[in-house]
């Protein structure tokens, strides 16, 4: 069975994820929030802008993308180990690469814009196209066209997908420990992602490419 993205999006959206009587959203073995995109954007862009012109631009990017790595590792990893995944996505999986296809379908229920896999070369390269990504759509609402990509979380997420599958092996349902995080994201074989197009820079969408970092 192929990955049926619409069925996955409908199933996740149909979970009606909202706070319980404690004001918390326990799902996928995690505690979720339906957070304000603008909050993330204002906070993240404040860091990026504060360090621009100081020679520390790349450090700001590294910090923000690193938060995206943490997100991918724990959120994507947690989802891929969850009962919800076993119920909805796992029955559609017929290849290792379907783990990424399935996770991208779940992401498309998260309000992050529309993610589409343009290219997936196993263990080598992942190219994701994002329409209406919340980071860059938010940038364009509040700031002039950017000279540099602003899809920080997305870059961390795209790299994280590859690291979960090809540096580690999420299909074996490993414990998502600090040590395992280091193994996946601090290894010579770790993937990193860069934007080749970016909505914030005036392109019509973001395109992120994950490859092994030299």
């Amino acid at each position: 069975m192929a990955i049926d993205e619409r069925a996955i999006v409908d199933a996740v959206a149909g979970l009606e994820l909202r706070g319980n009587e404690e004001g918390l959203i326990p799902a996928f073995g995690l505690h979720l929030t339906t957070h304000f995109a603008n909050y993330y954007n204002r906070s993240s862009f404040a860091v990026a802008r504060a360090l621009e012109g100081s020679g520390l631009e790349e450090d700001a990017r590294t910090l923000l993308v690193e938060a995206g790595h943490v997100c991918a590792f724990n959120t994507f990893g947690g989802i891929m180990r969850s009962a919800e995944w076993d119920a909805v996505v796992a029955p559609m999986i017929s290849s290792r690469e379907d783990w990424i296809r399935g996770m991208v379908a779940v992401i498309n229920a998260f309000g992050w814009g529309r993610w589409t896999i343009r290219e997936l070369i196993p263990d080598e390269r992942l190219c994701i196209e994002i329409e209406n990504g919340y980071e860059c759509a938010g940038w364009l609402k509040d700031y002039p066209v950017s000279h540099t990509p602003r899809c920080y979380l997305a870059a961390g997420g795209v790299a994280g997908l590859m690291n979960l599958l090809y540096v580690g092996d999420i299909t074996l349902r490993p414990t998502l420990s600090d040590a395992y995080y280091s193994e996946l994201f601090r290894d010579a074989r770790s993937f990193g992602a860069r934007a080749t197009s970016c909505l914030a820079c005036g392109d019509d969408r973001c395109v992120l490419v994950a490859t092994r970092q030299p």
């Binding site: 918390l24 603008n38 995206g68 529309r114």
Partner: protein, 170 residues
């Protein structure tokens, strides 16, 4: 409308004209820590202002769309939106249009922080502080700079603690 709408074709969830996105506590507190690593104490005000502005804009729309005009009902609605979004349970205490107190327990940010890094004497609940500052602005329809928020206690300080916010209109 207090229920977010989801547009699958655009990958967009919207409440009160503002985009919402799912994220879990791992990312929320990791991003917060990154901001503080980069900017130090300045990061606190940046996060509070971002939360206040977003809450004010969202809630003003929600109040208008749902025709909620009464001040108390507006503050209760703000607490419901906060809880529905998974930020924790907020109790509005002795609140008037001139200010009052909000208690948050459990708090998503505090739970996230303590689960990853343990309890801390430092302030963590910047989002809640900013959110309820924005909520009071929207409920009273006053300029944002007139509302001051003071954090009297933090849920991340010890197991079972609450975040207590004091709001004052100047």
């Amino acid at each position: 409308m207090r229920t977010p709408t989801f547009d699958a074709d655009r990958g967009e969830i919207v409440l009160g004209g503002q985009r919402l996105v799912f994220h879990c506590h791992h990312y929320n507190v990791a991003l917060q820590r990154s901001l503080e690593d980069a900017l130090g104490p300045r990061a606190v005000e940046i996060q509070r202002l971002a939360a206040a502005e977003t809450a004010r804009l969202t809630l003003a729309s929600v109040f208008a769309e749902s025709d909620i005009r009464d001040f108390d009902a507006r503050m209760q609605c703000a607490a419901s939106v906060f809880a529905d979004a998974g930020f924790g349970r907020a109790t509005i205490v002795a609140m008037t249009s001139m200010g009052g107190r909000v208690e948050v327990a459990p708090s998503h940010y505090a739970l996230g922080w303590t689960s990853k890094w343990g309890t801390t004497p430092n302030a963590v609940d910047h989002f809640a502080a900013g959110y309820f500052r924005g909520a009071l602005c929207a409920a009273s329809e006053i300029a944002p700079e007139r509302v001051a928020v003071t954090v009297l206690a933090e849920a991340a300080a010890r197991e079972g603690a609450s975040t207590i916010l004091s709001l004052e209109v100047r």
